[in-house]
């Protein structure tokens, strides 16, 4: 059993990690990603885009963020508001301008914010304050261990993990300090994952039914 206090403590650690320099973005830019994710909820551009047949038909002129390229702001907004219509041509176009590393890092941050903000909303709390940024420079380099395995971004070349488990392996700080701790605590919980009999308040099929419903409502093929 993982109680509310344990989740809150985890989220504080994740938030502290978001306040550290990342893989390509410094801590102030990472904080701007958090702000952009939240701004998307009331974004008029996103509202207009939701109403057109193709997202490419609406110009992506969101409220700018001073430390983020416009393309990265669009990634944060689209990931949050229009994730079912993301396409490779759009992603390739963004990455050609901003780089694959920054793209992947924004994906990881935006997804993490979605997890934490959703959890706090459903448990009746306001969103956490923006992360406090700490000084320092990110390494700005892709790990040698990643390459093309058929996804839009490079991933770990070892097939020891499922594709979703290595999806953000090209941004290891974001992956190991922000993203994977959330997935592990919220869902998979280490070695327990390989068992169909979970000692939790819900059975494994009940948990998987929630997971399947959310995935289907998000129109996520994976």
């Amino acid at each position: 059993m993982v109680g509310l206090a344990a989740f809150d403590a985890l989220h504080e650690r994740v938030w502290a990690a978001l306040g550290e320099p990342g893989d390509w973005l410094d801590a102030r830019a990472r904080r701007e990603v958090v702000r952009a994710v939240r701004a998307s909820a009331s974004c008029a551009v996103c509202d207009r885009r939701a109403g057109v047949a193709s997202p490419a038909m609406a110009r992506a002129e969101h409220e700018p963020a001073p430390l983020l390229a416009a393309g990265l702001v669009d990634v944060a907004h689209r990931l949050t508001r229009d994730n079912a219509r993301l396409g490779r041509s759009w992603a390739d176009g963004v990455m050609a301008v901003v780089g694959v590393g920054p793209y992947a890092e924004v994906v990881g941050i935006a997804a993490a914010v979605r997890v934490v903000d959703t959890f706090r909303r459903l448990t009746g709390r306001d969103p956490a304050a923006l992360p406090a940024p700490r000084p320092g420079d990110p390494p700005r380099a892709l790990p040698d261990s990643v390459g093309d395995v058929g996804a839009w971004v490079p991933q770990s070349l070892t097939k020891a993990r499922a594709n979703v488990s290595r999806a953000l392996s090209c941004v290891p700080r974001t992956d190991t300090r922000v993203w994977r701790p959330l997935v592990d605590a919220h869902y998979s919980r280490g070695a327990e994952f390989a068992s169909f009999t979970w000692d939790r308040a819900l059975t494994r099929p009940q948990v998987e039914l929630v997971a399947a419903t959310v995935t289907w409502l998000n129109e996520c093929f994976y």
């Binding site: 993301l86 869902y187 059975t203 039914l209 399947a212 994976y222």
Partner: protein
């Protein structure tokens, strides 16, 4: 969804995956209707969220409700990571999901284009459960 199928089979009560989208069905899972209704309200029907949360808490208890919230939040992130990184569905899951993908219209999702495989060319796993270890 493959994990829903496999875990429910392992516990001796196979889930009805085709009923996932039917709000009147529990899909063969205890409290299934309430779990699905809570998830739908959390994502799409904010005006019903309070009511659905109360009903779910009454049925599965405070800890069960928190487990549902935890899972729901995780998959709001996981779906986005999968969509935005363009990952392919892993071989065994892809090969074993042909029927329910068709039944639920999943093959029509835009992100289906990210997986370019031939299910018939994938050798079935001898022990599907062991394939789960990949997902840790």
């Amino acid at each position: 969804m493959a994990l829903l199928r496999e875990s429910s089979k392992a516990l001796g009560a196979p889930a009805d995956l085709a009923a996932l989208t039917d709000p009147d069905s529990d899909a063969g899972v205890a409290c299934g209707r309430l779990l699905k209704a809570f998830a739908r309200a959390a994502l799409l029907e904010p005006e019903r969220l309070g009511e659905q949360a109360r009903r779910l808490r009454a049925a599965v208890g405070e800890e069960g409700w928190l487990e549902a919230v935890s899972t729901l939040a995780a998959f709001e992130g996981l779906a986005r990571v999968a969509d935005a990184t363009g990952i392919e569905v892993d071989d065994q899951v892809f090969a074993s999901s042909v029927e329910f993908r068709a039944a639920l219209g999943i093959d029509r999702f835009r992100s289906a284009a990210n997986t370019r495989k031939d299910a018939a060319a994938i050798a079935p796993a001898e022990d599907y459960a062991s394939a789960l270890d990949l997902f840790r």
